[in-house]
């Protein structure tokens, strides 16, 4: 540790904080704070990308840092906050497992991810290769976040944080993806959030709630007769 240069130490700190944030997301009960955590994750990603760009001198990393700042720190959280305001889903929570249980599952997932990343990290030649495990853990923890939440809003936040993890993984394994791929992914994520926003309104119109639990029933249950949909919900596949 004593011999590590300071910028690499800072990068390691960013990686560790990213992992901590994933756990904070896992434990969080309120969706507004969840979105704020996503924004902080974006800030950390931005800082990490800048540090890496400064360290390696690769010009395209500055560009992707700017893209991260614009998209993940400003635009997406703003979009999500607007959606929350419009849908009035401030209390969108109810994890399937209790918090302590989720934490323990999360820890196991992290151990698994670190074990999985060891051979990959041994092959990589970048200075940040030890962070690959953390990136993998962030991805898997986002998965867990998505699995343990019922409501659509938290699942979307989990999805976005998974994308953050992928981005960080690519960065630490190969100093970032080719620019064209990065732009493509960024655009995809943006479009996905816009489309999902429209979806939310449709889901709420059909079910009067954003609880994805309702998707599991194949037939229209009597409880939803009153929602007066013009045609009955036929199957889960439609959504």
């Amino acid at each position: 540790m004593a011999g590590t240069p300071f910028d690499l130490q800072l990068l390691n700190l960013c990686a560790a904080l990213l992992l901590l944030l994933s756990f904070a997301m896992l434990a969080q009960r309120r969706v507004v704070i969840l979105v704020n955590l996503l924004a902080i994750q974006g800030v950390l990603l931005f800082v990490a990308t800048l540090l890496l760009a400064w360290r390696t001198g690769e010009r395209h990393l500055y560009l992707s840092a700017g893209l991260t700042l614009a998209l993940k720190v400003v635009l997406l959280p703003w979009l999500l906050h607007r959606l929350i305001r419009r849908l009035q889903v401030y209390w969108d929570t109810e994890p399937l497992l209790n918090i302590s249980g989720t934490m323990l599952v999360g820890l196991l997932v992290v151990v698994f991810a670190f074990g999985l990343a060891q051979p990959i990290a041994a092959l990589a030649s970048t200075a940040t290769r030890s962070a690959i495990g953390i990136a993998l853990a962030v991805i898997l923890l986002s998965f867990v976040t998505m699995i343990t939440r019922r409501k659509a809003m938290s699942q979307v936040v989990g999805f976005l944080s998974m994308e953050n993890g992928l981005f960080f993984g690519a960065m630490s394994a190969t100093y970032g993806m080719p620019m064209i791929v990065e732009f493509g992914v960024a655009l995809d994520v943006l479009v996905a959030v816009l489309v999902l926003g429209v979806f939310f309104f449709q889901i709420r119109e059909q079910f009067d709630s954003l609880d994805l639990h309702h998707f599991e029933s194949l037939k229209e249950s009597p409880a939803f007769k009153k929602s007066a949909s013009p045609e009955p919900v036929r199957s889960a596949q439609e959504h």
Partner: protein, 316 residues
């Protein structure tokens, strides 16, 4: 054994005994200031202990000898712990006897006897307090061990003085693992010492108390020892925190008597700041329901394990 080492050891024990109630008084004073109350005197814990020692003890008819013995055992365990934890110097003759893991065991022994004495009397409150204490204890202990393991792995030893010496002499760097474990340790300190998110030290409201419920049946010298032991416990935890996370200024072997002398005001400064910070944390947080306590301690455990994993992966 050199005379200086024996002097260090004696100084640490006396300092712990003398300063523990003062530290408690300081925390209470800060808390009162932050809550816009008139603060009680900083010497209040001493006066309370003196008053209690002058009273006649009343003991319940159906109390077993265990009930009489427990205060001495608890107090003794805390005193021995104070001798093991390096607060001023790292060259302590006592530390050959026990490393950090044994220290956790020592603290657990005190907890077990405290709880047994509370159950022994057979009152409802005592049993209730003992059960809650055991619940908090069995969740906090693994977390505390994890915190110690992280520091042990970094410095490759489980002896607390060696850890403190190693961390104090290392070049400064960013250790995310130590930062995580420091937060975890703060949570454990709050839970173990019956501070606010878990228990309220100032309350005698029956349904929420944990520590107070256990010592409810004690009086006079027994109660004085119990309260002194509780103050010592807080002092000990603070010193463990210093040894693991703020070891600078501690007198190492090379320093000689002058560095030992210099470490005394440093320890006082650290305690002052820590006491104020503790009071601040207690003021801004609300007491959790008892059933939320496992969640609180699960977070502490998670942070400690995360620190361990991050250290193993990043080497930082």
């Amino acid at each position: 054994m050199k005379p200086l080492e024996i002097l260090t050891q004696a100084l640490e024990l006396i300092a712990a005994l003398a300063a523990a109630p003062l530290f408690l008084g300081w925390v209470n004073q800060c808390r009162a200031w932050l809550q816009n109350r008139r603060a009680p005197s900083i010497w209040l814990p001493y006066r309370g202990i003196r008053k209690l020692f002058h009273k006649d003890a009343v003991i319940a008819e159906n109390a077993s000898p265990l009930f009489r013995l427990a205060p001495y055992i608890v107090f003794g365990a805390m005193l021995v712990a104070a001798g093991i934890i390096p607060s001023m110097g790292t060259r302590l003759p006592f530390t050959i006897a026990a490393d950090a893991i044994a220290l956790v065991g020592l603290l657990a022994t005190a907890r077990v006897f405290l709880s047994l004495a509370a159950i022994d009397i057979g009152t409802a409150f005592g049993t209730l307090g003992a059960r809650r204490e055991m619940m908090v204890g069995f969740l906090a202990e693994p977390a505390l061990l994890m915190v110690i393991f992280v520091a042990s792995i970094i410095s490759a030893t489980t002896a607390l003085p060696a850890i403190a010496e190693n961390l104090a002499t290392q070049t400064l760097g960013l250790y995310p693992s130590l930062a995580f474990t420091a937060v975890a340790f703060t949570l454990i300190l709050l839970a173990e010492n019956a501070r606010i998110p878990i228990d309220n030290p100032a309350t005698h409201l029956e349904l929420t108390m944990i520590h107070e419920a256990m010592v409810l049946e004690y009086s006079a010298r027994h109660l004085a020892l119990m309260e002194w032991a509780a103050a010592l416990k807080l002092f000990n935890y603070a010193c463990i925190g210093f040894a693991l996370f703020l070891p600078w200024g501690i007198s190492t072997g090379a320093g000689g008597p002058l560095s030992l002398l210099a470490s005394i005001p440093l320890l006082a400064a650290k305690l002052t700041v820590t006491g104020a910070a503790l009071a601040f944390i207690e003021t801004i947080s609300a007491k959790l329901r008892v059933f939320r306590a496992p969640e609180f301690l699960a977070i502490a455990f998670m942070l400690a394990v995360l620190g361990l994993l991050v250290h193993l992966l990043l080497g930082a």
